[in-house]
Amino acid sequence: MGRGKRAVAVAAALLCGLAQMCGEAHGLEEKPLRAVIFYHEQTWLQDFNIVHEIADAIEENLEGHPEVAFSRYGMESVSVENVVKLAIRMKTDVLLFLGTRSEVSLEYYQALSDEGIRLILVDGDVEESGRYAYIGTDNYGVGEKAAGFLAEILEQQAEVAVLAPALQTGLRSVGARLDGFFAGAEEKGLNIVARMDTSYDSLTAISTVERLLDEHPGLKALFCADAVSGQAAADVLEARGRSGDTVVITFDRNEKIENALRLGALDLTYTQDTETIGEACAQALVELAADRTQTGEDRLFPCIELTTQDLEGR
């Protein structure tokens, strides 16, 4: 065999080998990491949907990443049971969901773990769930920060009340905010005179606020752990002409909250940075797709503060 022919044969063999390797590599890449997120289809009462927004951000940040097959489902009712069942039946690799803590939900989280499905919690952390990672707002820290804010602006022994939805739902985002607030209040020596449960029903929330104001006419500040409570507090205070007298802190953001901020009925709201959270989730999924043996890493993000001055400045 001549030198030329030998060189051609070697080149052909190399090419064949390379093609085979590429084929194998391609074969590996052909199975993308399947991830799924469930959220309420409706924007619910507050005209916003945090998980929905996070899903949008994840989807946006996963563009150009075929190694992650991301599915999103907006459903009429989202329960841990249904979500986990679906995740297991569709044999997904990763489930992204908001964190709720209850005995039942913990059982389902366990079932997920048994099936080898990784759980990423995005709105409220439940450490006992055996989650892969929590990527979301530092609710505890936000609570602490709110307490610090009130301690700064209020006089000593000024009356502070707390409004929060009943925690039967087990939503860990609200629970963590409260935990953080109470810890901060204790540390700062805030005078918490009352804590009342509202619900996600606006009318119930309004009546609760009215009852609270009646019982504590000298109330100087209100910490509302959810948007429904915050809006109810703003509405009642405004109706009673006490908008400037009582400091109201709430969470999330919608048109009503913005109006209340402008009117002075609300003083501060904390909104979750869903875009950053979504981006971080997408990044975590891409990293997991690249190395499916790696362990998860929690990513906590602060809330964005929005005050009356911020709105006026715009």
């Binding site: 993308p32 399947r34 799924v36 999103r72 459903m75 679906l86 039946r89 569709m90």
Partner: protein, 507 residues
């Protein structure tokens, strides 16, 4: 290498083939594009329909399978089981197909969910020997899965609709692009064809028209035609033909000029020859005149007449006759020299001559002159017969001692007069006769010192402007006969010619 290759000629056939090939390639490209896009549009349309049909089949299958499963849980009918199993299989295939057709991961999820549902429903169908309650419990489990799938199907419905809208928009866009490209391609091809035709028309037919125009002018007799500048363009067959045509035309014109020149030169040469001939004749005439002047015929005639008168006074009649005959002969010879005479005058002169010679040779010479009626009127050059008679006398009769005879016959033969001079003298030996005939055949033969026959023939040929036939026959010791066939020309015509000087000299 052919001449075409050498000259770098691109033939019309090559041009047409090149254009045809290019056109075919364009058409091929055009139709390939059209065919490929049609195929693409057709496939995508089919895909759209397939997605819609498959999704509808899956949604319907979920509901239908639920009702069949419920029926089976109650009755455990084998027919229902078979149909339900087939339906579940179809559903799984539909979900699989959707996952393949649509890239969205939710369809992969759906494929798994349907498979899970089918698996669960399969348990209902595979269960044996269980009670209705157990069957219903299994059915409830499957139903719960089916309902859960239904709850999330809204997402899939939206995705299918979105896919339909997107693909329809894409198809419409593709269709518009295809139409635009087809129109542009058609326009390009039309422009290309038109451009070629215009160029071809200018390059070939225009030059052919010019060539035809030139040919028409030539047909009308206009030989001087300039080569138009267009004929020099385009290195193809028409160019070659044009070049050959104009080169040929130049050559013909050149040949015509040469022919004209040659004709003029020949005419000049002929004129010079005529002039030379006339000059020679004039010279000969001058020579004769000079000779004549030397003899001084008037003096001679007067002297002979005086002598004749003296002979009469002295009573010597024979002498007197002889002198007068000699005077007549001499007068004839000198006065008719170089002129035409009638045959009768010539015969008369010959008779004078022979009569004189008879007095000399007495019985050794006899003669006879015979003529047909009317023969004597034809005109001939003078002094034609006398040399023949002299030859007969000198070469034929003189060597014999007695009984010599010379006979002259002039007889009609058709439109000619045959003149024969016959003598019964010594005759020619065959060798001598052959030599004489050979000499006569030679145009350049000069017989100044011979028998003089060639000189006679030259004069006759020149006089009649055509060869005069003759014959020499001889038998040694017996006779010699010389015959001439003289064309019978009217006297008037000959005289007229004589007067105009148009005839060749005969002297």
């Amino acid at each position: 290498m052919t001449m075409k290759e050498k000259m770098g000629i691109h033939s019309i056939r090559q041009k047409l083939l090149f254009f045809g090939g290019l056109l075919c390639m364009l058409l091929l490209l055009f139709f390939s594009f059209f065919w490929k896009n049609s195929q693409y549009l057709f496939q995508q349309q089919n895909r759209l329909l397939e997605v819609q049909r498959t999704f509808a089949s899956l949604v319907n299958g979920l509901d239908e399978s639920d009702s069949r499963l419920y029926s089976y849980a109650l009755d455990r009918n084998d027919d229902i089981k078979i149909r339900c199993t087939a339906l579940l299989q179809e559903m799984q295939e539909a979900a699989q197909s959707l996952a393949g057709l649509l890239a969205a991961p939710i369809f992969t999820d759906l494929e798994y969910l349907v498979a899970d549902y089918a698996d669960c429903a399969g348990k209902v169908l595979e269960e044996r020997n269980a009670g209705t309650g157990e069957y219903l419990a299994l059915y409830q489990d499957a139903k719960e899965r089916m309902e859960l799938i239904h709850k999330m199907m809204n997402q899939h419905r939206k995705a299918v609709n979105q896919d339909r809208v997107e693909w329809q928009a894409r198809l419409e866009g593709t269709q518009e692009n295809v139409e635009r490209t087809l129109l542009a391609g058609a326009a390009v091809m039309i422009v290309f064809c038109m451009a070629f035709l215009v160029r071809f028309s200018r390059g070939v037919t225009r030059r052919l028209t010019l060539l035809t125009g030139c040919a028409e002018k030539i047909c009308e007799g206009e030989w001087v035609v300039d080569m138009p500048p267009e004929a020099e363009t385009g290195h193809d067959e028409v160019w070659v033909l044009s070049r050959a045509f104009y080169r040929m035309l130049d050559e013909i014109l050149h040949q015509i000029e040469e022919l004209k020149l040659k004709e003029a030169m020949e005419r000049q040469l002929k004129e010079a020859e005529v002039r030379e001939t006339q000059m020679t004749a004039r010279l000969e005439r001058a020579k004769l005149l000079t000779l004549q002047s030397r003899v001084n015929p008037h003096f001679l005639f007067n002297a002979l007449n005086v002598i004749g008168g003296q002979a009469a006074e002295e009573s010597a009649p024979k002498t007197m006759d002889m002198i007068f005959e000699t005077a007549d002969y001499l007068r004839y010879s000198l006065s008719r020299l170089g002129k035409t005479v009638t045959l009768e005058e010539e015969l008369q002169n010959v008779e004078n001559y022979l009569s004189i010679q008879k007095r000399r040779f007495a019985e050794r010479l006899n003669y006879e002159i015979r003529r047909d009626e009317g023969c004597g009127q034809i005109r001939i050059p003078s002094m034609i017969l006398q040399p023949l008679c002299e030859n007969a006398l000198i070469h034929g009769i003189m060597p014999v001692t007695q009984g010599g005879c010379i006979v002259i016959d002039a007889v009609w033969e058709k439109k000619r007069v045959r003149i024969t001079v016959t003598d019964n003298g010594t005759g020619f030996t065959p060798e001598r006769l052959a030599q004489v005939q050979k000499d006569m055949a030679d145009e350049n033969y000069d017989d100044t010192n011979g028998i003089g026959l060639s000189n006679i023939l030259r004069r006759l040929n020149a006089f009649f402007e055509e060869p005069v036939d003759y014959r020499i026959e001889s038998e040694p010791g017996k006779e010699t006969r010389v015959s001439l066939w003289i064309p019978a020309r009217t006297s008037d015509a000959m005289e007229e010619k004589d007067a105009n000087g148009e005839r060749g000299t005969c002297g």
